[in-house]
Every structure is written in structure tokens, then in C-alpha cells.
């Protein structure tokens, strides 16, 4: 039964990883930018929510609804003012710029918010759980995160396949120059893609703060998990990030079941195995079906 429990908890953890990974995958798939500050932006969103909660005393869950759109606007600005500028110089410059952003965010948070770790006060929700059998119960918070991930991925899939903006995003991901001569303002489209990516990374940061804790240096390890989920699932495939996230989550949970300190290592080993045996990932790369 412990094994079943480990697998179920691992699947739920996969939802959190998928939330982290889908923004990274979208930004890479459309704008061709590897955002090395992705994890740090998630942590920044968590701190932003913390500030809103402590100053306005709005309940945590309500705050999340405000922070995600704010972060989308922020993402549009970051894309247009910083990432696009570095893209115009060279693709390699974006690596340096996002790495720089990562360092800046971590240090600004360290100076302004100290190295203490925080988590969101969700009241009684944090310990509430759904009891399936005497040995297996599912926490409400991990379940809500998993459901959020599925809803976000489904919504994103529908947006990309059904709307004019989604079509423009897919066209620009295919061929930026061809879409510009078809009349698409590709810089605006990239801004919108970044806005969506930032909204999802904000949700990921908030989910992190709800299910465990965050501190100024929590970003890079989250970035690694997001990378692993993206690569296991297949670069550029949205549902692939969920599959990748779940596989990573289950590997970590089962690994921790074998040896309490072996969870993260087991995740890395599964990642390396996929990279060696199926480097294109498990799901065929495609932005939308």
C-alpha cells in the first residue's frame, strides 16, 4: 500500500512540475528563449503574493487570482523590454540576460526579504485530505494543484488551437519571418506568449508556496525540475509537460520510498535514462493538436 501511496503522491507532485514546466516549454517553443530565470520568477511571484496578503489581509487563495494576471502583464513587459532586445542581438545573449535576471532576482529578494523561508497560510485547508482507504489519503492542496495544472494545460491547448491569437502564436513558432509578412505583429505575439508563460509560472510559484515553502534561492532547483519535465515529456508539447511532470514526480516519490534521501536522485536518473534512450521526449513535439 505504501507503494500505491508513493505513486499517487508522485502523480500529484507531477501537477506542480507541469505548472512549472509549461511556461518554460511555451517560451522556448514560441520565442526560442531558454529562460534561466524561470524558477526565480516563480519565487518572485510567491513573494509578491506574500506582500499582497500581509498588506491587504486578503485570503491567500483570492490573492492568487490577482497575482497571476499581474504577472502576465509583467511578463509582457519583460519580453518586450528585455528579452526581445537581447534576442535582437543574438540568441546566446538571451541566455546571459536571463541568467543575469536570475542572479538579480535572488539577490534583491535576499536583501529585501531575508533568507527566511515562507509558505502561505491556507488555514485548515493545508492539513485537510480526502481519505480513500485507511492507508491512502489525498491532500486537498496537492489535489487542487494537480487540478489547476490540468485546467491550465487544457485551457492553453484550447486557446492555441481555437483562437486567432493562438493561431498567430503557432504560426510565429513555426516561422517568425513568414508570419510577419502574413501581417502578424510577431513582437506583440511573443509578448502575449510571454504573458501566458509568466501567468503559469506565477501559478507554479504560488502552488510551491502552498504545498511547501520558498526562500530567495529556491528558484534554480525548480528550474532543473521544470527542465527535466519538459525534456522527459518532449520539448514543445504541452501535454508532454504533464506526462513529464508526472513521471518525474512518481520517480521522486518512489525513489524516496526506497531510500528517504534518494527521491531527487531517482528523478535525475529517470531523466537521464529518457535523455539517453529517447532524447526527443515521450510525446511528439507539437504546440497544439
Amino acid at each position: 500500500m505504501n507503494w500505491v501511496n508513493a505513486i499517487v503522491q508522485g502523480i500529484l507532485l507531477g501537477g506542480l512540475y507541469a505548472l512549472f514546466a509549461c511556461g518554460l516549454s511555451l517560451l522556448f517553443g514560441v520565442v526560442r528563449v531558454v529562460n534561466l530565470a524561470h524558477g526565480d520568477f516563480a519565487v518572485l511571484a510567491a513573494y509578491l503574493a506574500l506582500v499582497v496578503i500581509t498588506t491587504t489581509h486578503v485570503p491567500a487563495l483570492l490573492t492568487f487570482v490577482i497575482v497571476a494576471p499581474l504577472f502576465a502583464i509583467f511578463g509582457y513587459g519583460v519580453q518586450r523590454l528585455i528579452i526581445q532586445k537581447s534576442l535582437d542581438v543574438s540568441p546566446l545573449t538571451t541566455l546571459l540576460v536571463t541568467f543575469g535576471l536570475s542572479v538579480v532576482i535572488q539577490n534583491v529578494l535576499l536583501v529585501t526579504a531575508s533568507a527566511d523561508s515562507h509558505s502561505f497560510d491556507l488555514g485548515s485547508l493545508i492539513s485537510a485530505s480526502l481519505r480513500i482507504t485507511p492507508e491512502l489519503s489525498i491532500g486537498y492542496v496537492p489535489l487542487m494543484i494537480f487540478v489547476t495544472a490540468v485546467v491550465v494545460l487544457s485551457g492553453l491547448q484550447l486557446f492555441l488551437s481555437r483562437t486567432a491569437m493562438g493561431r498567430a502564436i503557432r504560426a510565429s513558432a513555426d516561422d517568425q519571418e513568414a508570419s510577419s509578412i502574413a501581417g502578424v505583429n510577431t513582437r506583440h505575439v511573443f509578448g502575449i506568449a510571454a504573458a501566458i508563460a509568466f501567468a503559469t509560472v506565477a501559478l507554479a510559484g504560488l502552488a510551491l508556496g502552498s504545498s511547501s515553502s520558498f526562500d530567495p534561492s529556491a528558484g534554480p532547483s525548480r528550474l532543473i525540475f521544470a527542465f527535466e519535465a519538459v525534456i522527459i515529456g518532449g520539448v514543445g508539447s504541452l501535454w508532454g509537460t504533464l506526462v513529464g511532470g508526472i513521471i518525474l514526480g512518481v520517480a521522486q516519490a518512489v525513489g524516496a520510498q526506497i531510500d528517504p534521501s534518494g527521491g531527487v536522485l531517482a528523478g535525475h536518473l529517470v531523466f537521464l535514462a529518457v535523455l539517453a534512450l529517447r532524447p526527443q521526449g515521450l510525446i511528439r513535439a507539437r504546440l497544439a493538436v
Partner: protein, 240 residues
């Protein structure tokens, strides 16, 4: 309608176009001919805004569009069918056409009008474009450009890699477009094909205009001389 004035374009140290001047009026078809590397594609790409000129200007209906980005030029009324078609592989035929609608420029072209122009296309609108033959893909590329309701249509090497019958069929739609008052500027490596459909032609060699006029007025020798740069050897009248 479209006026290119003394356009000079550089790629790094290479001067791709030098002092090119041309005009295309409504309902007129102009062909740009020339050998590989003469600057034909660079000229079209500069007109749509993919290359920034280092000197000269591009006017559309008297408005200066020299510094506008490509998508803004599409909104002003220019559309390019690029060399190699450049369709979006992950989009269906219909989605490819709809992307051409992005500028929201008003006009008579719609999905229905394109499906009427290419009668096979409607039935296959849900298919990915990689399932289509080269000629069919070229037709989708033309349709995508028409969806922008252009005043000026730029065509880059429509015939490239297509069977002669397919080329004739694609060029067969041009008279309909020209009759609606569209101005057509086309680049073509197949000189015979270009001369057959153009009202006027302009021959480029190493980024300069070497000959221009009406196809009927130019002798084969003159065109060959301008095309290959044999001006000194074939006698007078070949270089402009």
C-alpha cells in the same frame, strides 16, 4: 501606386542593391528578371520590410513606408508570396489562410473567395499543408497573401520546383487579380514565363538595373546581354 526610389541595400559588406528605382501602377504587372544573386529576392524582401535599406525610399500611394515593419506594410496594402512558399507546417490549409488575415485590412478577399479561385482547396481545407503537392502548396501561399487584401502583390519565384503545367495554372489566376486593379511585381527565373505575362520588365545584374522596358520592345540578344552582363561584347543598346 508602389514607388521604389534609388534603393540601396547592404548585407554586411556586400552591396546587394544599388540605386534601384521602379514603379508599379494599379492593374500593372512588372517582372524582375536576373541571374542568381542579382538581388531580385532582396528587392522584394526590402519592399515588404525584411531588409532595411541604407539609402532610398519606398512609397505606397504617396505614403513613405520605408521604415515600417513588415506587418505594418501588410496593413498598408503590400503582400509577399515568399520564395519557397514558407507555409506554416503545424497549421492546416485553412489556418494558413486565416493567418494571412492578421492585418484585418478591409477588402473583398475571404476564405470563400480563395476557395473559389482555387476550386480544389475548400475540400482539403482541414489537411496539414505537408500533405499537399508543391503546386498546391504554392496556391495556398498565394491564397494566404490574397487574404491580406493587398493593393500590391509581390511574387517571389512562383515557378520554383513546379512542373510546367502547374506553373501555367498558378500564373493563370494573375489576370483575374490584375483586372481587379491589383498591382503585381514578380520575380522569376523562368525568363520566358516572366516575359509572357509582364507588361514591363526590369533586368537586374549584381544589384543594378541593366535593362528595362516592355517585353515586346527588347530583343533576345539585348535581354541576354543585360542578364549575363555581356554589355561590352554584344554591341550597343544592351545596357541602360
Amino acid at each position: 501606386m508602389l514607388e521604389v526610389r534609388s534603393l540601396t541595400v547592404r548585407h554586411g559588406y556586400l552591396q546587394a542593391l544599388t540605386d534601384i528605382t521602379l514603379t508599379v501602377a494599379s492593374g500593372e504587372t512588372i517582372a524582375i528578371i536576373g541571374a542568381n544573386g542579382a538581388g531580385k529576392s532582396t528587392l522584394l524582401r526590402s519592399i515588404i520590410g525584411l531588409h532595411r535599406p541604407s539609402a532610398g525610399s519606398i512609397m505606397l500611394d504617396g505614403r513613405d513606408i520605408t521604415v515600417l515593419p513588415p506587418h505594418a506594410r501588410v496593413r498598408e496594402g503590400i503582400a509577399l508570396v515568399p520564395e519557397g512558399r514558407r507555409l506554416f507546417p503545424s497549421l492546416s490549409v485553412e489556418e494558413n489562410l486565416l493567418v494571412g488575415r492578421s492585418s484585418r485590412r478591409p477588402g473583398s478577399w475571404s476564405l470563400g473567395a480563395v476557395y473559389e479561385l482555387f476550386d480544389w482547396m475548400g475540400a482539403r481545407r482541414r489537411e496539414p499543408t505537408i500533405h499537399l503537392s508543391g503546386g498546391e502548396q504554392q496556391a495556398v501561399a498565394v491564397g494566404r497573401a490574397l487574404m491580406a487584401n493587398p493593393q500590391v502583390l509581390l511574387l517571389d519565384e512562383l515557378s520554383l520546383g513546379l512542373a510546367p503545367t502547374m506553373v501555367r495554372r498558378i500564373y493563370g489566376v494573375l489576370p483575374k487579380l490584375v483586372k481587379q486593379g491589383m498591382a503585381v511585381l514578380l520575380v522569376e527565373q523562368d525568363v520566358t514565363q516572366a516575359m509572357r505575362i509582364a507588361d514591363r520588365f526590369q533586368c537586374l545584374l549584381e544589384g543594378r538595373t541593366t535593362l528595362e522596358g516592355k517585353p515586346a520592345d527588347a530583343t533576345k540578344a539585348q535581354v541576354e546581354a543585360a542578364y549575363f552582363g555581356l554589355a561590352g561584347r554584344t554591341g550597343p543598346g544592351s545596357a541602360a
